[in-house]
């Protein structure tokens, strides 16, 4: 079993996403520390690509800020190397970044990832049909390639994807792109239902922003809650409103704690 799957070992967990380098590298290290203090068990770290077609406006802006601050894949790997928070790191980026890195397409990126202590990858514009090469190299390098199951994904595709996925499966809670929504969508329950038979952790993302969401997701049978835009939003507001750095760090930690509390409520509820 992979380190990532291991992280689900003690019950449902929180997986926060933030964009590396937003607004700068030092901040990212502090933010990740805060999220871990808040109870995060896996960190999803965005490596920015200029055309983030799977992301919503909030994360797109974070990516633009990071790029403008000078983030590059090389710096990203340096940044991750410096991190030592005791939780697995998953990189989220787009396929062109993976493909263009280093001497050997795809391979350079994966081996560098491993070298820096990255444990998994999410490449949202790489559906299973195009993933052959990356899958193979990831396997060789012992790194998890995490796929997304969307509300539109049909049975046949689910089978194909579940055959290849490792680490955990990312259950997209709703149609659309990443972003903050008011409630947990009905499709979440249905999607989890469809995946019940598969023996791999299921994490639900897209639109999670408070403890009620988290609780409901866990109640529906998920093993993990992924939240991104809500954290990126805190970082953005901090920057915009000139809130001092330590306040942003505190707010991130509190939000993580709130979601972890929600997860706990979900578990209670499941038991009762």
């Amino acid at each position: 079993m992979s380190i990532i799957t291991d992280a689900f070992g003690e019950g449902p967990i929180l997986i926060p996403y933030i964009t590396a380098g937003d607004p700068n590298e030092e901040a990212t290290i502090e933010y990740v520390a805060a999220l871990v203090r808040g109870g995060a068990k896996i960190i999803e770290l965005g490596l920015p690509f200029s055309e983030p077609i799977a992301d919503g406006p909030v994360i797109q802006e974070a990516i633009n800020r990071s790029l403008e601050a000078g983030m590059t894949p090389r710096k990203f790997f340096g940044l991750v190397s410096e991190m030592d928070h005791g939780v697995p790191i998953v990189v989220m980026t787009y396929y062109n970044i993976v493909y263009q890195y280093g001497e050997i397409p795809v391979e350079s990126f994966v081996s560098e990832s491993v070298r820096c202590g990255i444990n998994g990858m999410i490449i949202p514009d790489l559906p299973i049909e195009e993933a052959e090469v990356l899958l193979e190299i990831c396997k060789e390098n012992g790194i998890d390639l995490i796929f997304i199951i969307a509300p539109t994904t049909r049975e046949q595709r689910i089978e194909k994807i579940m055959e290849k996925v490792s680490g955990f499966v990312y259950v997209q809670a709703r149609l659309g792109t990443t972003g903050i929504h008011k409630d947990v969508s009905r499709t979440t329950h249905e999607s989890l239902e469809r995946l019940r038979e598969y023996d791999i952790p299921k994490s639900v993302g897209f639109g999670v922003s408070n403890s009620d969401h988290a609780a409901e997701i866990i109640k529906s049978g998920a093993d993990g809650v992924i939240a991104g835009s809500v954290f990126v939003d805190i970082i953005d507001k901090g920057r915009e409103e000139g809130i001092i750095e330590q306040d942003t760090v505190r707010l991130l930690e509190e939000k993580a704690r709130e979601l972890v509390r929600g997860i706990g409520e979900g578990i209670e509820n499941n038991k009762s």
Binding site: D125, P127, L175
Partner: protein
Amino acid sequence: MKSTKFGKYGGQYVPEVLMPAISELASAYESYVRKNQDGFMDDFFARLKKFGGRPTPLYKAERLSEKYGKEIYLKREDLVHGGAHKLNNALGQCLLAKYMGKERVIAETGAGQHGTATAMAASYLGLDCEIYMGKKDINRQRPNVFRMEINGAKVNPVERGSGTLKEAINETLRDWSKSVDTTHYVIGSVVGPHPFPKMVRDFQSIISQEAREQIQEEVGRLPDSVVACVGGGSNAMGAFYNFLQDDQVNLIAVEAGGKGIETKLEGRIAHHSASLTIGREGVLHGARTKILQDEDGQIVESHSVSAGLDYAGVGPELAYLVDEGRVIPRTIGDKEAIEAFFLLSEMEGIIPALETSHAIGYLENHVEGDLGEVVIVNLSGRGDKDVETVMEESHRLGIKNRTTDRVGRGI
């Protein structure tokens, strides 16, 4: 399933949420377009004729022919309803959406040409239509925005980023991620994930289907060359497709050389849009193709005086055909294009689109041996839309002639 690729190019690099829609579209493409199920293609051709104004003439440019000592024929896509080849595709896709039972179409647009074509076709077929357009482009192309709205489309301004085509594509993909059940995304060129590049090519290939017959009627043989400008590549693929098997016909793809392709990248900015000529293999907007990108794989901002050529990617099939040596990529810069714009207007009474002017400009600035004696240039669109831009840019670039002089005098 049929191949989604052209050699190593093409494919389907899209978020999972869109995969089912793309697969559904691919089957619809196979049955309706490839196999003419329910008489789809007959219906399409009939509508292209009545609504679109096809066939378009193949026109011998007498004065241009004399000037260049060649027989120069223009394929008159400027006469298609809406003023460009864009309608061939927009009508095809909107009709397909209807056959597939979709009620709504969305599209991205840069200069507004594809947006207006889509709005027209949607209105004609009674489909709801929303167009995404960068805020900056909206401000530059107000008349086209009005046209879309007058045709009943909703134009959604995209405020983020540079407010141009790239962002509009991203935003349209986002809409589609939410609305795939009811909505078809009408892509504007031979780009994006499979089946778009093949499908758009098929809808546009009517251009070479007609032209191949017409030129044989005119001169009794095939042409020595076919010249077309390349943005995403749809008019070029349309103009080349039925000549692909004719090895003796040179197929020349003219890209926007902008301010020059030698100028180095500055930050993430290129001074041209020559992805076929000097782009590097990569993945953009759903397909593997040749792309203008920096070392890390970040997509750069391309440049061309012509909004319709100003794109950092290019159709995967063209990338493949260039690698195979079947299509010759060339570039024409901003200045040469504007000069060609004036030339055709003054000599033949046809004001070409600025995009098209790049293809025309290749007549003056061609590489020895490329053209031969009998040349077809695909006149992809008319230039009414570009009149203001040309006036401003002529001034900036120091282009002087009768017209710019006169306007300088303030008439």
